[in-house]
Assembly symmetry: C2
Homo-oligomer: 264 residues x 2
């Protein structure tokens, strides 16, 4: 039953995690977790619930891992290990504009596990030689490309075209997608001009608020690599509903504490 | 005279930037910039001053670049290009603890231009095979190693030992250095315990405040790579005296706007 559902998930490219219990009498018990539903039972309802939550967190990151819980799912417990196998297609990062900076951004995208495509209408700039880390280098008009490209909630759009002529049509298309991140590079003034142009052509403030501009976290990035760190940080923070800032300044638990523990 | 001083800088491994004017009647005029002093003249005092500031910013990042100014150093001007050649040894990143996460952190360190060394007392873990991106993998006690390692303001210390037995002696040594970044991984509780132990052995609050713990920016990092982004962002933000929130939430100019413009 669970394997049939898993086969369905794989056939329809739906993200799914298969959880297998590794300890105790119910060793081998299985759970199939989707973003919005789950099937199966790991032995106790607490463990099933905790493992479901953890599996969804790993689905969001596209990661497979072993996690350890108490018998009833206690997060600090060490009784039961579960193996959480994520079946998730890699998310897409589309970088619009084959400028010098695109190379550093493409490398960062690969580091974070994205399938990276760079799109530029100019064949001289959009070359694999200039962008060795990109999976795809595509010569196309950015808005035309995006209008027919696969986009879902995990898709990241990074707009480096930096020219109202190109980026306004592109932003119009971007706002019609469900992309999880829409970032546009430029100064505050450039972005204010963009907002004005989008408003004039009927985009609402709520739509415009989906655009991260100026792009990135406020870390004072100076180099292309540092700018890519700033953008990567914002992509992750938005996905996790965080505002950035230093952990030392906050009081919430460190989100990755369990991960860090698991790695030690 | 300037070349002699440059030779001195190179011989003593002191960071230095050689600035050359590329436009106008004083084309070829030169300026040698150290962190705390400068020699030479680019034509106007405003231009000399602006180029000196910019050269120091590039020294901090270890970067060489062309910058454009007005004739009297106006930042938005386009009259004069200057070539700023930084002569800076790569900064050191020391990662203490060869845990699984160290691999992702080492790769991030290389991406940002550090010479990366991973130090661990356990020969089974401290191997080049487990840490392919590290420049050096060193089997040594962390505190012994750091007591004799070269450290300056650009040096980054990342402490992953995650065990009071190792990390308290190491933090004592770290606080005696001038390292620009001292980060220690662990939960808020782990870090509270560390602070307590350091206080008991006489460290002041001002000293303890140099330690970034919990380490990193609050982006909800889930994977080793995302955690490395969070730490990299904090390293840059601290160097630049930024707090790491989203640029979209701020009102200050985007620090890298000139860089971004130069790249387009």
């Amino acid at each position: 039953m669970i394997f049939e559902r898993l086969a369905d998930s794989l056939r329809t490219a739906q993200p799914a995690a298969l959880v297998t219990r590794l300890d105790g009498p119910q060793t081998g018990a299985k759970l199939l977790v989707h973003v919005d539903t789950a099937w199966g039972d790991l032995g106790t309802s607490g463990l099933t619930h905790a493992a479901t939550q953890e599996a969804r967190a790993l689905l969001a990151a596209g990661q497979t891992a072993i996690r350890t819980f108490g018998e009833d799912g206690e997060p600090v417990g060490m009784d039961v290990r579960v193996f959480i196998q994520a079946f998730v297609p890699k998310p897409n990062m589309y970088i619009f504009g084959a400028i010098d900076f695109s190379r550093a951004m493409a490398r960062m995208g690969k580091y974070l596990g994205y399938t990276v495509s760079v799109i530029d209408a100019r064949p001289i700039f959009a070359t694999k030689a200039r962008l060795p880390d990109a999976d795809n280098v595509i010569v196309a008009w950015p808005d035309d490309f995006l209008a027919s490209a696969p986009v879902d909630e995990r898709t990241v759009l990074i707009i480096l075209t930096h020219d109202v002529k190109f980026d306004i049509p592109l932003l119009h298309v971007a706002l019609r997608t469900t992309a999880g991140y829409i970032g546009a590079m430029g100064s505050r003034r450039t972005h204010a001009n963009r907002i004005e142009a989008l408003r004039r052509s009927g985009r609402s403030d709520a739509e415009i608020a989906r655009i991260s501009g100026p792009i990135g976290l406020d870390i004072g990035a100076r180099t292309p690599e540092e700018t890519a760190v700033s953008i990567a940080g914002e992509i992750i923070a938005l996905r996790e509903n965080r505002r950035g800032g230093r952990l030392i300044d906050g009081t919430l638990p460190v989100h990755n504490a369990r991960l860090a523990d698991a790695m030690l």
